[in-house]
Structures are given as C-alpha cells and as structure tokens.
C-alpha cells in the first residue's frame, strides 16, 4: 500500500525535526490520560507517533487543538513552556495535513471520472446538436462536489440516487427536443400590439393602449417583464425564429439625480429579450426557465430591432429593461420627497391628505403607509390597508408625473420556425440514415452508443439496450417510444456518464476524451475520434496539433469559462451578493456578470496571443465595459460592449486588480486580509496554508471603534501558534486591503455614518520582501515569486486537465514546465504533452 508523505510546497510546513514527543506526553498528559485514568476516554501513554494511523491521527488532532487553544493541560496542572508547546505543535501540524492529504491520495490515478453537470450538459448538447436549447434539463441535478476548488475530480465526484433520477428525467427531456415530429411544421407569423400584458397594480399612467407600453424597471423578484399575455402558450415548435421589436429608449437624460434613480445617464438604455415558459411559473416574474436570447442598446427614437433567436416549444420572448431602476418603491419615495413640486397630484391624492408638503410630512406619511401596507401583506392579522397608495390608481398617478427612463415597446413580431434542413440536425444525430423502428434498434443504438461512449462499443454492451427496446415494445409502447427508451438508457448508462481511463498509458480514445474534456468540457468531435482510430494521438506532434486545433475552435470557450471560474474561484461570485445599499454600482452597472467577463476575456486574450504568463501577475491592459470602467475610474468607456483598454494606473493590471478576483475573495459585506491572503497563497503562489485548528474560535470583527482588522490580526499573531500560519497568510492579504468587497478602490475603511480609519496596505512576506502598496506587491511577485506562480498555474491546469489531485510524483514535471519563460498557449500544450496528462 502507498506510504509516502505528500507535503504541500509551503515554507512553514516543512517537517520539523522529531522532538521528544513521548516525554512531553508523559510529563504533561499521562497523569490524567494514561494507563490508570483515561479522562474523557483518552489515553496517551501508548499513543502512536505514526500519524498515518487513523486512530492516532484523531487523537493528535485533538491534542494540537487543545495545545493551540491553551486549554490543556488544565489550570493547576504542570504547564509546558511556550517552546515545548510550540515544538509539539510544529511537529504534529504538518504531519496531520500530510496524512490527511495521503488519505485522500489516489496514487496519481484519476478515479473513474463522472461527467460533472457542466460537462454532461455540454456533451449532450453536442451529441444531439441541441446547442441552443433553452431548457436546462440538468437544473434538477444536485451540485457537484468540489476538491481544491475544482468540480471535475473523479475521486471526489459522487453519484447518488438523486443524480440518477435526474439523469433519467434529463435524458427524456433532451430526447423530446431532439426527436422531430413526423411532419415538418408550417412557418407562422405572429404580430402583437400594445398593451402586451396586464401591469398588476403598478400601472403606468403614460402607457397608450393601441400604441405602446412602457417598461420602467429592471427585473426584480416582483416583476419587470413585459410579456405577451395572448401568447402565454408560447411557440408551438422548437426552432429558430425571426424576432422583430419596435422600441425606443425614453428619457435617457432624465431630470433627476442619478443616485436616486440608479440609471447612468451616460449609458444608452438597453432592452433585453428573456425567453421564458409559463410551465415554470408566472411569465411576469422571474422563473428558473429565464434565458436571455438577445439584447440591444436603444436610441431615443422608435426603431425596429431584429434578431434570429432559438425558442423551445412553450417559450415566449419577454422584454426587459436590464439597466433600468432596481425597485420602484424606494424610487417613488425618494423622488416624491426630493422633487415634491413635480408630483403634486400624487402627493395630494395619496400621500398627505391635507396639511403642508415638506420632507418631514412626506417622510412620516410614507413610513406610516408603507408600514401599514407592508404589515398587511406579511401579517394577516393586521386589519385594513391604506387607500390605494400601493394600488393601481396610486401608481398610475405617480407614473403619469414621473419623467424617469423607460423602455417603450410598440410592437413585437415573431416568425418561424425556420429549418436549414429536414429532418433537423438533432434528429439526424440520433438516427443517422436509419428509419426509427424497433427492427433497426440494434443498428441505431450501436451507432448512437458509439458516439455517446466516445469509443467503439462491444455487442455485449448494446445487447441490454436492444433487449430493453424489445421489452418496452412487448409491454405495449409504440415503436418510437420503445426506441426512445433505449436512447434514454444510453444517456443514463455508465459508458456515457464516466470517463474510464484505465491504468498506465492512456489508450487513444481515453486520450481523445481527456483532451476534449480539458479544452472543451465536452466530447471529442469526429476529427479527434478519427485521429484516435488511426492511433495518431500516441504521436506527440499529432497530439499537439490536435490540441492546437481544439484551442482554435469556439468550443474552447469552455476553458476560459470553466477553468478560470474554478482556478480563480469565480463560481463563488453571486452566492453572497453585496448589499445594494453600500455597493449600488454592483447592481446599477450589472457588475456581477461584467467582472466575470473581464477575467474570461483576459484569459482568452492571453491564450490566443500566447502572452507570457507573468501578465497574470501584472499587465498594462485589461478588458472593460462601461460599468467596469466606471468602477476602475477609466474615463471614456461607455456601453455594454467589452473592449481592451490600456491601464496607465499601476494599481490595476493583472489578476490582483480584477474586480472578479477581489469579489470572489471577499464575502459581499467586508474584506478580510486572512481570506484574501489565503486566496493568494492558494491560487497565485500555490502554497495553501494549513486549515485553522478546529478549536480556535474565529476573530470576531468589531467595527465600532478605530480598531482595524489589521490591529486585530497583529494581536492574533502575538500568539506563537497562530503566528505560524498567519505570518504567511496576512501580508498578501494586507496588500489587497485598498480594494473593497466588489473591487472598488478605497483609502479608508467604511464605518457606519462616518469616515473610518485609513488603510495601510504595506507588509512583508515571510520570504523577506517588504512592500508598501499593491503596486509594490505585484513587483515583488514578479521579481521574486514568478516561479511559484508558474508552478501554481501549471499545477492547476494539470489538475483540471487530468481530473485528479496532484502527487509528489508530478512535481518534477511541473517544475520542468514552469522553470522557463512560457506563454499561456504553450503552457497548455506543455501540459497536454506531459507524462502526467498522457498516462493514468
């Protein structure tokens, strides 16, 4: 059995010399936890110092926790000196993490790797030519397990009954869409005029039935969609449709303070088309079926906007105002209070029945009415509501006087479905030239399983599928239903769901799949499989050529999306959304998706241009749209389109200046040098620190006074056992302290209602280099830690590419690849050529 120790490349984690462990235990512990007495069921007189032993490891974990905490030996008992205590902690800590890593080690082998949710969906879409399908049949899948940030590790990914149930239902859904109806559907044209949908109680006093209907806000939990009531059933057939919308952006330069409305006057008003299906919920609200299928920057005059869109049967195009105000209740209150002389009808009719109109009376009566109506909604016991304040008339009156931004929609036209071929591509993908009959079952299933399993199949593998089809037919299913059950079984079978890579050198097909899942997160295409058939992939030159070909294909977008998301932990963005109060730009400018786009575009650019990987540490360019440019303080960029900009400001540039990284390493509320420090150690330097000892209580932040997190950490580091890790963790975290939780720049910490203490972003790395600011810090990384970064990135790529955690045996190869200057594309090719990649 394997018995090596896997030590993370961490300076502070090198193995300390063996101290006298047993004498320590005998002196301070055994009196209570020995042969005679075993308080708390613990006995240390015969405790093994071999931490690969499970039982001993548990005991040692406990001991280290207590020593760190200082809770043992108890008061009154003889106490070890700080040095003695530290020696034991230093001895045990790295051994504990090493043995934990070893317990998880698979000895350099990728365990039978299940496709994760992302790969499964992409694979089925490629397999069935259903790339544009709106439905996401995998939305019922449980989340995939994550190891070291990655969700494609074979040993970690679990298969459960919930997932298998999900596979069965998802397969049925995909196939429903792929199997064409017997008759080619007629093309139809639909024309819709305003009003398109009822507005609930938020009636717009400026709508003109017969001419146009307005959208006034972004979509929220309470609506914001303009949908087509008479088309609730959606289109009758899957397919491509021509969508035409006549619309106009009204009042881009509205007469109110921008901060109250939350819409940038400098940005064109935008219209997006979000497809949705009534099957998933009310079309006026967000549903899990929502998919944006088109978007347009609007002009101030009415124009026709056209797009070719895919719609699933049952879906309809709904129109939204993505950069509109975010909630109309607070907006109304703010505008009516600030611009009371322009909302007189509303005020007289609905807010202050009589008496003076001023900020105080408005505030008071708003509060009274909102709380009364709010209470009536959430607490059924409270009787009575106020007179129509939040009802149709109240809102209509307000909106009649409101001069804020609107998307005005005049007409919607839809024509389709258009087919390039009949039967359509998905149907051909399933059946090829065969007529879908039970007699053809073997041929159809053999052909489909060969593609689905990404390798030649054996008769014995297809036999149970053919038997299944015959059984269903015998049980009374129609020919096509029986056949569909067989196809469904292919998509739920282990041959499809798992990448079986065997042991030793990968065979051609396993290598083809490893390559395509690395670069595309999907199945190999016909050309790659053909190369496997010909045995070409064993030739390093030909493998390299295939890798280059795959990288040049649009499907390689999966690498920029998925690898970047896992490496930089961008998948965390959005799960802890920042508060709209403190970070309104995040919502007003749609930064959540913009910041992820920046990171992906940057990676893709580096890949396409084979830029030196040092560009990730610092660069003089990045990619922004109007919203991000505003966050970064870059003048002259407007609109939702991304473009490459140069960065004269050295504080930005490289990953550490990117909003996505700074948001992913915060929690939406505040920043922690510890969390960001760990982020840098794990993802830039590749030296993950040990997890905090289980018994140490986290630092409780206190933002009331002048104390900063830095002060608190200084105290924390005064404790030697804490300092052991925090001396590596905290400094890189300090370097990022000038960036707020969404990556905006700040000079002071926020404090409720007043300026907080100034930020000090200086520090000194454990390796000795001091820095005064983020700009300095990046220089330090470039000059002194370039190799660690190169190894880190290489390791992450190799881990992602091979679907397994790395082992000491991978180290020499990683070091070899990382030691010389290299561009990103060459680095990826070097990974593909490595022994670690080509064998299992």
């Amino acid at each position: 059995m394997r018995r090596f120790l896997w030590i993370p490349l961490l300076a502070s984690a090198t193995l300390a010399a063996e101290p006298d462990v047993q004498p320590f235990l005998d002196a301070y512990c055994v009196a209570c936890h020995g042969a005679k007495t075993q308080m708390a069921d613990r006995r240390f007189d015969d405790l093994s110092a071999d931490l690969s032993d499970d039982a001993a490891r548990e005991q040692w974990r406990d001991i280290v926790g207590r020593l760190n905490l200082g809770s043992m030996p108890p008061k009154g008992a003889p106490q070890p000196s700080d040095d003695e205590r530290q020696a034991i902690v230093d001895w045990a800590t790295p051994r504990l993490s090493a043995s934990a890593a070893e317990a998880k080690s698979t000895g350099g082998k990728t365990v039978l790797r299940r496709l994760n949710r992302y790969e499964y969906d992409r694979t089925v879409r490629d397999l069935l030519s259903l790339q544009d399908l709106l439905a996401d049949p995998t939305d019922v899948f449980p989340p995939d397990a994550v190891e070291q940030g990655f969700d494609n590790i074979g040993a970690t990914l679990k298969t459960s009954d919930f997932l298998l149930t999900g596979y069965l239902s998802a397969a049925a859904t995909y196939l429903d869409h792929a199997i064409a109806p017997a008759e080619r559907p007629e093309m139809r044209r639909y024309v819709f005029q305003a009003p398109f949908c009822p507005t609930g109680n938020r009636h717009d006093g400026q709508d003109e039935p017969g001419r146009f209907q307005n959208i006034r806000k972004n979509t929220t939990d309470e609506g914001g969609f303009l949908w087509i009531e008479q088309f609730a059933q959606g289109v009758p057939q899957d397919g491509y449709y021509t969508l035409r919308i006549r619309a106009q952006g009204v009042n881009q330069h509205y007469p109110y303070d921008e901060r109250l409305v939350g819409v940038r006057k400098s940005e064109p008003l935008r219209m997006a088309v979000v497809a949705g299906s009534a099957h998933y919920g009310e079309l006026g609200l967000r549903t899990s079926s929502d998919r944006e299928i088109a978007s347009f920057d609007l002009t101030a005059e009415p124009e026709w906007y056209e797009a070719r869109v895919w719609l699933d049967a049952g879906y309809q195009p709904r129109i939204t105002f993505p950069n509109g105000p975010n909630g109309v209740k607070p907006l109304r209150r703010a505008l009516v209070t600030e611009y009371s002389d322009t909302f007189l009808s509303f005020i007289r009719g609905y807010v202050v029945p009589e008496g003076p109109i001023n900020k105080e009376t408005l505030d008071e009566s708003f509060t009274r009415r909102v709380s009364k109506e709010g209470a009536s909604k959430t607490e059924l016991t409270t009787a009575g509501t106020s007179r129509m304040f939040n009802r149709r008339d109240g809102w209509a009156t307000f909106f009649e006087e409101y001069q804020g931004p609107r998307v005005r929609v005049y007409a919607i036209e839809l024509e389709g479905p258009n087919f390039d071929q009949w039967p359509p591509a998905p149907h051909v993908a399933l059946f090829g030239e065969h007529t879908p009959t039970v007699d053809n079952a073997e041929a159809i299933l053999t052909r489909f399983a060969t593609r689905a399993f990404r390798r030649p199949v054996e008769t014995a593998e297809v036999a149970p599928l053919v038997a299944l089809v015959r059984e269903r037919r015998k049980k009374g299913d129609s020919e096509s239903d029986a056949l569909a059950v067989g196809l469904r079984a292919v998509l739920a079978s282990p041959g499809f769901l798992y990448l079986n890579e065997g042991e030793g050198k990968l065979d051609d097909y396993a290598l083809a799949s490893r390559l395509s899942y690395f670069l595309w997160s999907s199945m190999p295409d016909e050309q790659l499989l053909e190369a496997a058939r010909q045995g070409e992939l064993r030739d390093p030159q030909k493998l390299r050529a295939q890798a280059l070909r795959l990288l040049a294909d649009p499907r390689a977008g999966a690498l920029s999306e998925q690898f970047v998301s896992r490496w930089l932990e961008l998948y965390k963005i959005g799960s802890m959304p920042p508060s709209a109060k403190d970070f309104d730009a995040y919502y007003v400018d749609g930064l959540e998706s913009a910041m992820k786009t920046e990171a992906r575009r940057f990676f893709r650019h580096a890949l396409e241009n084979n830029l030196p990987i040092e560009q990730f540490l610092d660069s003089d360019f990045t990619f922004v749209n109007g919203g991000l440019a505003r966050l970064y303080g870059i003048p002259g960029v407007r609109g939702s389109e991304f473009r490459k900009v140069s960065l004269p400001d050295k504080r930005r540039g490289g990953l550490l200046g990117m909003a996505a990284v700074l948001t992913a390493s915060a929690n939406g509320i505040d920043t922690s040098p510890v969390v960001r420090g760990v982020w840098v150690l794990e993802n830039i330097l590749g030296t993950p620190p040990n997890p905090p000892p289980p018994d140490v209580e986290p630092i409780e932040p206190d933002i009331r006074g002048a104390t900063t997190i830095r002060d608190q950490l200084v105290k924390h580091r005064a404790i030697p056992t804490c300092n052991a890790c925090h001396q590596s963790i905290d400094p890189p975290g300090f370097a990022l302290e000038n960036f707020d939780p969404i990556g905006g720049w700040r000079d002071r910490y926020p404090r409720p209602n007043r300026p907080g203490p100034p930020i000090d972003s200086s520090g000194q790395l454990l390796s000795g280099e001091a820095f005064a600011s983020i700009t300095d810090f990046k220089q330090v990384l470039l000059e002194s830690h370039r190799d660690e970064f190169a190894r880190c990135l290489t390791s992450k790529l190799l881990l992602y590419a091979s679907g397994r955690t790395l082992e000491p045996s991978d180290e020499p190869e990683i070091a070899r690849i990382a030691e010389q200057p290299i561009g990103l594309r060459d680095l990826i090719l070097a990974v593909v050529s490595s022994d670690s990649f080509r064998s299992n």
Binding site: Q59, S160, T378
Partner: protein, 419 residues
C-alpha cells in the same frame, strides 16, 4: 490500509459495522396496531441567531424571555431552550450544513453512517408508511454558503430541497386525474426497465475495472438500487388518492410572503399523515426590503457589533421566530386522529448550524425544541467546561420517534436531564 484501533472512540468502534448496509432496513407496518406515530419537524437558518437576543440570561423555568423568544411567550410551556450544545466543528459557513448531523460533509467518510441527518434517519424508520418518507423544503432557492443543506442521507448525499411552495402544494395535495396517474405509473415502469438495462451494463463494466474504479462505480450501482427502492415505495401510492385540504394553492413569491405558506403546508402534511418528517430550510438570501430594511440578510449578520446592523438582523430573526411561533400555535390547535394535541405528537426543532454569524463560530448553537410530549418550559444550560454533543439531544429525539439506538452520530448517549 491499516485500520488499527485500540482507541475507545466511538467512530472506530462502529466503523465497518454498518457501512455494508447500503440499504436501510425496511421497517414494515405489518403486525398489531401501532402506537400513535410521532412526527419530527426541523427548521434551520444558515446564519444563526444573535446570541444575546436568543439565549436567556437565567436558566430554569423562571427565565425572562429574550427578544427573539418573546413571540413564543404564549407557548412557554411547550418548548425548551438549550445553551452550550454544539457539534464541536468549525469552518463558519462551511460547517453550517452539519446542523442536523453533527458531521461535516468533508469528514463524512470517517463515519459509519456517513453524515446522515436526524430527519433522514427518522425518514428511514417511516419508510413507505406515508406517501413521502420525508419532506425537505427551502423557502426559496439559495446557492453555495447561503443554502442550509440540512438534510443528508446515509450515503453522504445532500437531499435537494423543494424550493417552491406551489411545487410542495402540488406534490402533497393536487389530485391527479386517471390519465396522469397512468402516466406516472408508466413512467415508473419505464424507469425500472432502464435501470435493469444500465445495471446490466454497469455489472459488465465493473468486472473489467481496477479496485479503486470499482469502488467508484459501486456508487452508481448503489444509486440504481436506491432509485429502484424509491420507485417501488412511490409506486404503491400512485393510485391512493391524495388528501384534500382547505388551502388555496400558494403563489410563489419572496421569502417574507412564502414562509407562512411553507409552515402551513408542513402542518397540513402532518395532519393528513402525508409525511411524518419535515425539514424546512431558511435561505441566507431573502427579501429584506419587504421587512423595511436596506441591506441583505448576510450583510446584517456581519454586524461587527455595530448597533444599527444588529437591529436590522433582529428584524429578520424576529420575523423568523414570529412565524415559527404561529406554526407552533397551529400544531397546538390541531388534533391527531385520536384527539391528542398534534404538538404533543410532533417534535419541532428550531436552530442553526451557525452559533454566531458575526464571528462565524459554529459553537454554542442556538437550539430550541418544542412539542413531542417532552417536559418543557425551561432554559437548560449545559456545562461550559466540557462539551455536550448536540447529537445527544438528537439521540433523545430519535428514541422518542420510536427508533432503538444508543447514540446518533457523534452522541455519547441521550441528553442528560431532559426527557
């Protein structure tokens, strides 16, 4: 790998004893008249409850109600508040999901029953006696650390919650016409056929694999058996009519609007014996604006001791305890089939896997247990010098549920001084 022991720790004892039992014992309803069933409802949030506003200063029966307990004053005799119980885990948000099992996902493989949660342990006991062995619901959707992930099976799998009130209503109470039921039964039949075929394939594949890969594929084979078992349990219910209740189908909306709907659905599910085990997850992202707040739930939980933020957090948490109090009122007013008070036949747990949201501590969890015919009415504080496992309370609860066991997961036994 050597599994040498000698340790007296429970996990080492049990290792190996139960792991092979991939399928839970199916406890059949055969035999003499059963005693009236006990039910279990577990409610949790991922961000804890403000400790100063939850735990009373005094112990015993004469404690003064804290701000968060005030809405429950009328039910004082029907519940117990516990201090100093926890699972001895850490990890902040990353350990919250251990609330109902005591074991973090990442440590689950060290334990004989993985990280099975108390509700799923109870659900196994119920089996097919009710339409749904358990209901796991979340009041709206949440991702990542803002999701509670409270419910875990003995295979270490997180049970995905139903996060729409309309969907829960449909599952429980919407009658299906004959054609739909036929379709459902046909769907089960087709699934069974597919499972037979893929199982045959998996067996072929299994034979050609190395040990480690075989072990991985065992997950698939276990899943096949589990789904077959579920289908056979559900199959028996297809043609049995669903109960009719006087409740309008709920509209899906934001948290503040739907919380009561979920409670009502659970109450009705229990009354109609559609299930005896329900778990309700409160997500960490909710519509705070409808509580008159400017800022997110998670943001308020990071109060950093600032008073204005603590007050906001209290608005959110009081909203939760008020709704919970109404739920207890509802159960207290309901009668079991033999006329007993439904609250006495239902254990209702309320709490969190987070002890203090601001410091991200998973120690000293806020725990409240109502109903279940226990002797209630006190604030019970357990010793601070040594840890009392929260799993001891869970053991007590599972025994009350009718399950014979000595210690659930990390428990050292039942909870002392409580019955």
């Amino acid at each position: 790998m050597s599994r040498s022991s000698g340790s007296t720790r429970r996990r080492s004892f049990l290792r190996g004893a139960g792991v092979a039992l991939a399928l839970p014992l199916f406890e059949s309803a055969a035999g003499a008249a059963e005693p009236p069933p006990m039910r279990m409802v577990c409610v949790g949030n991922p961000l804890g409850l403000l400790p100063e506003a939850f735990f009373p200063a005094e112990t015993g029966a004469e404690y003064r109600a804290t701000e968060l307990l005030k809405p429950l004053e009328a039910r004082r005799k029907d519940f117990t508040v516990f201090s100093h119980l926890d699972h001895d885990v850490s990890g902040g948000h990353r350990a919250v999901h251990a609330f109902l099992c005591g074991i973090r996902d990442q440590d689950a493989s060290d334990w004989p029953e993985r990280n099975i949660s108390i509700d799923q342990r109870a659900a196994e006991h119920v089996g097919a006696r009710t339409r749904y062995p358990s209901i796991v619901a979340s009041v709206g959707h949440a991702d990542g650390d803002m999701a509670c992930r409270m419910s875990w099976t003995r295979n270490g799998v997180n049970v995905p919650p139903i996060d729409k009130a309309s969907e829960l209503f449909r599952l429980l109470f919407v009658a299906e016409d004959a054609a739909t039921r036929r379709r459902t039964a046909h769907g089960y039949d087709v699934s069974s056929s597919i499972l037979d075929a893929v199982n045959a394939q998996a067996q072929q594949l299994h034979a050609g694999l190395g040990k480690v890969d075989q072990h991985k594929l065992d997950e698939y084979l276990t899943s096949v058996r589990e789904v077959e078992r579920r289908i056979s349990m559900a199959g028996g219910w297809v043609d049995r009519p669903k109960p009719q209740v006087e409740m309008d189908p709920p509209q899906d909306g934001p948290f503040t609007q739907n919380l009561d709907d979920f409670y009502e659905l659970i109450a009705l599910a229990i009354q109609t014996d559609s299930t005896r085990v329900a778990t309700l997850e409160i997500p960490g992202v909710i519509d705070t604006q409808n509580l008159g707040l400017n800022g997110g739930y998670h943001g308020f939980s990071h109060h950093g001791k600032a008073e204005v933020l603590q007050r906001g957090l209290l608005v959110i948490e009081s909203f939760q305890t008020r709704a919970f109090a109404s739920f207890l009122d509802r159960l207290a007013a309901m009668q079991d089939s033999d006329g007993a008070r439904m609250l006495d036949r239902t254990m209702v747990l309320f709490g969190s896997g987070m002890g203090n949201g601001s410091s991200h501590s998973n120690k000293d969890l806020p725990i409240l247990l109502a109903g279940g015919d226990f002797r209630h009415g006190e604030h019970k504080a357990y010793p601070t010098e040594r840890r009392t496992p929260l799993c001891n309370l869970y053991t007590t609860m599972l025994q009350r549920f009718g399950i014979e066991l000595d210690a659930f997961n990390k428990a050292s036994g039942t909870l002392e001084n409580f019955a």
